[in-house]
Amino acid sequence: MENNGLIYPFSAIVGQEDMKKALILNIINPRLNGVLIRGEKGTAKSTAVRALADILPEREQIADCIFSCDPNDDSFWCENCRANFNKETGKIKKGKMRVINLPVSATEDRVVGTLDIEQAIKKGEKRFEPGILAEANRNILYVDEVNLLDDHVVDVLLDAAAMGVNSIEREGISYTHPSRFVLIGTMNPEEGDLRPQLIDRFGLVVDVRGERDVDSRVEVIKRRLSFEADPKKFVKEYENEQKELAGRMENAKKILNDVVYSEGCLSVAAEIAIAMKVDGHRADITFMKAAVTNAAYRGDTKVDKEDLFIAAKLSLPHRMRKKPFEEGVIDFDRINDIIEKSVL
């Protein structure tokens, strides 16, 4: 997907509005707990994720910290920052949020971290060599074909994703570090399913399909070809749009904490969850978070019905299935009904 180091611009992706929305919302609010993109091959899944790199926001991080700890939030600092970092005098640097790739072939030791062999032989010391989960802290962890990942790797991934912490007790190493990441997975459902437990950990899920409309399809080909013919020129053409999008996201991040929601919104969340018989409470909570984030993305500080609709679309479908076998048929009419009737 790269050409001379140039990435296909995010804003040049035709259609796939749900997918783009889900990705954007997650970057604005990493607490949405990631997104799973399901769809056939060739539907711009990976392109979209890679394209994110270009529009990711900058943030502050503690200089020299391998976990890029946030200088402003000491409750999630790593051991080292906790012991040595001083808020007044410590060095802070700016850095972009990054997309960290977790290859399907990754072994557990590379994921969670392992014993540093060089240190051990040279100095006879046991040191922790950080793995992918360390790198992923405060970044995006991208797993292509997440459904093909080894079961036990999925288990540790789940564990870390749920707690925001990676604890290692292996190979003579005992270590704990923060690992809070936006989990983005893509999968082709034809290749097999994900366990419901893992699906539930993804805040949002979108199903993508190839564009059905002829004009859009033509547009997809046109853009792709002109990108490949002259990537530089193509990227330049979209520069303004990219900037605008990045600016909008940055603004949304700023106002995110000011967004208010009425009691009515909360009842809608609960009512939908009960009507749809979802498992547990993750659905309601994610639903509200998505609505709040969408409001911020619109540049508004008040949640309205449109936000609720979008939140329902992105956060509910995958939580519908009660059992591994029952097909989750989501009753969108019913949801729309509940939202329409509500008084916000």
Partner: protein, 617 residues
Amino acid sequence: MFSNCFPFSAVLGQDRIKRALILNIINPNIGGVLISGEKGTAKSTLVRGFSNIIDSMDVVELPLNITEDRLVGSIDIKKAVNDGQKTFEKGILYKAHNQILYVDEINLLSEHIVNILLEVLSTGINVVEREGISYSHPSKFILVGSMNPEEGLLRPQLLDKFGLYVEAKGETNVENRTEIIRRRLEYEKNPKKFCLKWEKKDIKIKEIIDMGKEIIKRIKVEDEDYGFAVGLAKQGNCLGHRADIILIETAEAIAAFNQRNRIMEDDIKEAASYVLPHRIRELTPLEESETSMDDNRMERNNTENSPREDSDTVQKPLPEEENMNSDTKKEGIKESIEDIVGGKQKININMDFGKKFSNKGSGKRAKVKTDSSKGRYVKYKMPKGKVKDIAFDATLRVAACNQRNRDKKGMAICIKSQDIREKVREKHTGATILFTVDASGSMGAKRRMGAVKGAVLSLLKDAYQKRDNIGVIAFRKDKAEVLLNITRSVDLAEKCLKKLPTGGKTPLAAGLYSTYQVLKADKIKNPDSLQYLIIVSDGKANVPLKSENALEDAFIMGEKIRNEGIKTMVIDMERNYIEYGFAKELAKKMDSEYIKISQISKTDINASIKSLLDINR
């Protein structure tokens, strides 16, 4: 671990989980608690929040990725290398002594680690004899586990070690749910502020616990309390005496929690609702009606709260099951051939409640010690032949013991080839189950296909939990068709079967040929997996593959499959006046299990297939 986790007292509802945790601190002899429940019900949040409340104990977490050496402890490499001393480096079991040991997703823990845990749990001592180290230390802890039963069940030995069992469930009314969202969002906006706000309530709980710990010292257990407890345990058909003892210990804690010096009958009843659910063995319908007639209502609540009805994976109680069976049978007759006979509820047929916990099924068909470098590293071994997957930590520890006379060449340590150790990895290996189904016209008759579909589908849920791979091949008209190549997606298998049409001739040989190819390809992809083949046919082959003789061709292919060492079962669908017994002959040629559908119900088909799958456990 990290400050500002979601406060214990701010979790709405889930009172039974909270209570169970508190009781364990008041009386550590209870023996821990297992929290089971659907996802997103604050299971782990509660345990982690709880660690902030108690200051007398720590919550030591046992992560899923743990290796043996960190669990039991091993030689301290640094000291060995630098000072030439053999010292013991403490592991998790040492840290956990007199503390709480918490295992999230305990049903996913690797087999080897569970074995070690079981041993330490029963002796209370961790004995380490490895790498030149000989050390033992007491290790008594309160074991707290949480799990989602959808992901597989817990080994019965481990289950029994838990004193208490509670279930986590989502709230079902709007007000409570709204409050939960409100609190969570408020917490995420500013965790620090939120924690401060709830600090007082947390402290109040802590005071109750501290008071309880004082009171419990003074509690005297009366003879009739023992009698009552034993009676309850007996009603539940509990094995052994553990249930009786834990009932009393828990009742004491409940009394202390309520600030009483005496145990009331209600305390024991309440205790029973925590202690008995995972210990009750199958109740006959008679016993069940007795208990409901009994003025002892609690006992009945008990059985209602017990996991068998709440959990998705579990069977209904016997009387209902019978009803359901007969219902679905009736349905089956009404339904058309293409439909699946038997509802989805009927899944897992031969597993009644009692067997739920005594069943070996714990989320995998088999745990294979794998030779490939995939899988979870659990321990090490001496290498045989060429070393492929070096266990560096273990190698280092062995080398560290032998540094005295070695030339280190400026490095801290010198490693010789005899020090090298290899990793032993453990991998969940689901089986590969391939269904080769005869979809010819003769199979359509008399709704045979429906029965087969019903039987196969009810196996699928089991297959999901055990992470099996499934494939479906159908043969009809003049060819075999791979409807579903070997996949993990049980959903797809279900859809495929639902749509499967019948009609046409019977190209049995072609079906078997496809089967052979598919299984062979799968073997290359997953060399560790156990392969099973289930052939459903009436054996009346009438389309040859190579020669003129359709049946002969089928037999030749069958023998080929047999030579691959694949476990097979032939389900004979023949149901005619004059029986040819071709399928039986095929089964003989293939050395396979053989059952005939006309003789038995589909419930038995399931049982037979399951027993086939379980052989290799």
